[in-house]
């Protein structure tokens, strides 16, 4: 099966005058199949959001240098490389082929425009609908994402809605043009736990119903565990482990993945036990070009880790970038 989206060796480098460049994304590759839910997981600063913005061509300003390719299968003979498209061509695809749901639903909605208008904007732009038709469709969409009394909510302003409702509206906007790929950048981070569960459930239903593929960007392994088919664990701008959800949670091989899973509080653990944590912070990273970036924080680091770059190796059920993975003999 050809992938819907194939990110190959994506690099994003922020060039600074008189200082070393910041490499936010350092050769990330992954595929998303049609209708598949793929997770991008990692802590703050690992390059998840920059990856998603690079796919959409939304990186700010002129400073970022983007390398690699982002191949999108739009039904043509050969997939299109989104990175080579002009601004105008990209704008045609944004919203129509690829939708995006952002982290903070309040700040991502235009405060002076009723939510209904923000939905119809996408419909008239990409689906060529007339005003009335778009308005009817907007009501249907709001109803579909579970907003009560949609006919009235269409005229509501974002500040007149609750947080959960806003995120539902944002999802309605993103799905308005039935994109084939939806990128959700931490869509539940700003919501409280019960609403989080509802929103995740809604996303799952919608992608199953419409056949939209979903890239789920999150730092929350709980979200991944409940939703994703396949998970990419990012560290320092590279994919360090990729596996199916079940394989990943059952037997994490990379020490970072294992540390992340180990630091989730469990209901059956002894309250007296200290919760395991990954020591240090992202600022301790080594440069990838002659070491493993995670080595300074890694409990399983061996000498090789600080001298040689680990190569990504594709095994039977996963991709792994580690000199001394969990489960290997020391």
């Amino acid at each position: 099966m050809t992938p819907l989206l194939s990110v190959q060796d994506l690099t994003v480098r922020f060039v600074r005058k008189g200082e070393a460049d910041i490499v936010a994304v350092d050769g990330v590759s992954f595929d998303v199949g049609p209708g598949e839910i793929v997770g991008l997981v990692g802590e703050s600063g690992c390059g998840k959001s920059v990856t998603s913005l690079a796919i959409m061509g939304l990186l700010p300003g002129r400073t970022p240098r983007v390398g690699g390719s982002v191949l999108f299968d739009d039904g043509a003979a050969a997939p299109t490389d989104l990175l080579t498209l002009s601004d105008a061509a990209l704008r045609e695809r944004r919203g129509r082929d690829i939708g995006m749901v952002f982290q903070d639903p309040l700040s991502s909605l235009n405060p002076v425009v009723p939510v209904g208008v923000q939905i119809t904007e996408a419909l008239t732009r990409h689906r060529g609908m007339g005003k009335d038709e778009a308005r009817t469709e907007a009501v249907t969409l709001l109803e579909r994402v579970g907003i009560p009394d949609p006919a009235r909510r269409v005229t509501a302003y974002p500040h007149q809605m609750s947080g959960g409702m806003r995120q539902r509206a944002l999802i309605a906007i993103a799905l308005a043009c039935r994109p084939r790929l939806l990128i959700a950048d931490e869509p539940t981070t700003a919501l409280d736990v019960t609403i989080q569960a509802q929103i995740l459930e809604l996303l799952r239903e919608l992608v199953a119903e419409t056949g939209t593929a979903l890239i789920m960007i999150t730092h929350d392994l709980g979200v991944v565990a409940g939703l994703c088919d396949r998970v990419n664990v990012l560290y320092g701008g590279r994919v360090v482990e990729r596996a199916d959800r079940h394989a990943l949670f059952a037997s994490p091989r990379h020490p970072y993945t294992s540390g992340l899973i180990g630091s989730i509080p469990r209901l059956d653990s002894d309250p007296a036990d200290e919760l395991p944590a990954i020591t240090g912070s992202v600022s301790d990273n080594l440069p990838w070009d002659h070491a493993c970036a995670f080595a300074p924080r890694c409990p399983r680091a061996i000498e090789t880790c600080t001298t040689t770059t680990p190569v990504a190796e594709s095994g039977a059920d996963r991709l792994l970038r580690c000199h001394n993975p969990v489960g290997a003999a020391r």
């Binding site: 959409m56 939304l58 700010p60 704008r91 045609e92 695809r93 944004r94 919203g95 129509r96 939708g99 995006m100 952002f102 903070d104 700040s107 991502s108 909605l109 235009n110 405060p111 002076v112 425009v113 009723p114 923000q118 904007e121 996408a122 732009r125 990409h126 009235r152 909510r153 005229t155 509501a156 302003y157 500040h159 007149q160 809605m161 609750s162 944002l170 906007i173 993103a174």
Partner: protein
């Protein structure tokens, strides 16, 4: 027993209450509750009514000199209030009251037009600079800096003095020009803030065209402070226009009544009849105060922090 009203229900009702109400209506509702705004609005209301109906309200022709007043006019004495002439005569034997009323038209015209032109040009410059950034921004803002570095009255005087023949038009242009950089700088700043905002990113991610992003998503969110500034500018424009007239750079037509000009020509007679200077001065102050009060309350009403 009746069904208990839960907090959640009440909250839902309250949200429903405001659902669909436009932001403008919301701001107007808050304005109506502010005493400052009401005082300002009443002053401006009276001022506008007076200037609109000035020809009906004025008992006499403001340009006409009356023999019975001229008779009483001699060095060191200008006739004061008397039957038919409630504010007495001016230094040329004309009815001061009618002149005061007719002058409100000039003031309103100059103030509003200067503000509108200044606002329009400032918005264009501000949108261009704020939306495009880069060299467009740099060039426009350096020019703005230069204009802002000149004291506004001095700038207005220079522009008005450049004109071959001082007239009402030159006053309007001069005062408008002074305000262009103020509006432009203000709008550019809030446009820049909007450009970095999440909802603009979200709109871009939706494939909304660039022009629509700028005009529908950035500008309406950025314009608030500019509208407030415009209200306050009405006050300063009136003061600036009066100052230009006072300095002899205003309308050259002596028959046309104008508060600043009246103030200037009353100067030699301050010891004879101070009223001639006091009436226009008070009028200018009160009208400027009205616009300032309304502008300040408008700012409070539009301030998003005041919003629930």
């Amino acid at each position: 027993m009746s069904a208990p009203t839960t907090w959640a229900q009440r909250r839902r009702d309250r949200i429903d209450d405001t659902a669909g109400r436009s932001l403008t209506a919301d701001a107007l509702r808050r304005l109506r509750r502010s005493p400052t705004a009401i005082v300002g609005a009443v002053i401006i209301g009276i001022f506008v009514l007076v200037s609109v109906f000035a020809p009906l309200l004025a008992p006499h022709d403001p340009a006409q000199a009356f023999p019975q007043l001229l008779d009483q006019l001699r060095p060191g004495s200008i006739p004061g209030p008397q039957p038919g002439f409630p504010l007495g005569s001016d230094q040329n034997g004309r009815d001061e009251f009618s002149r005061m009323i007719l002058a409100s038209r000039q003031t309103l015209l100059v103030g509003v037009l200067a503000t509108v032109f200044g606002l329009a040009a400032g918005v264009v410059v501000g949108v261009l600079a704020g939306a495009f950034g880069g060299w467009v921004d740099t060039v426009l803002m350096r020019v703005t800096d230069v204009l802002l570095s000149i004291p506004s009255l001095l700038l207005a005087i220079s522009v008005a003095a450049l004109a071959a023949r001082p007239s009402q038009t030159t006053v309007i242009i001069a005062v408008a020009l002074v305000n262009v950089p103020i509006f432009a700088r203000l709008l550019r700043g809030s446009m820049l803030a909007q450009r970095e905002s999440d909802h603009v990113l979200a709109a871009t991610a939706l494939g909304v065209k660039r022009r629509a992003v700028v005009l529908r998503h950035m500008l309406p969110n950025a314009i608030g402070p500019v509208i407030v500034q415009a209200t306050l500018t009405l006050a300063t424009a009136i003061l600036d226009a009066a100052a230009l007239s006072f300095l002899g750079l205003g309308d050259a037509d002596p028959a046309r009544a104008e508060w600043g000009l009246m103030l200037a020509s009353a100067q030699p007679y301050l010891d004879v009849r101070p009223g001639l200077a006091v009436y226009p001065a008070i009028a200018i102050i009160v009208v400027a105060l009205g616009f300032t009060l309304l502008g300040e309350s408008l700012r409070e009403a539009l301030d998003p922090k005041g919003r629930r």
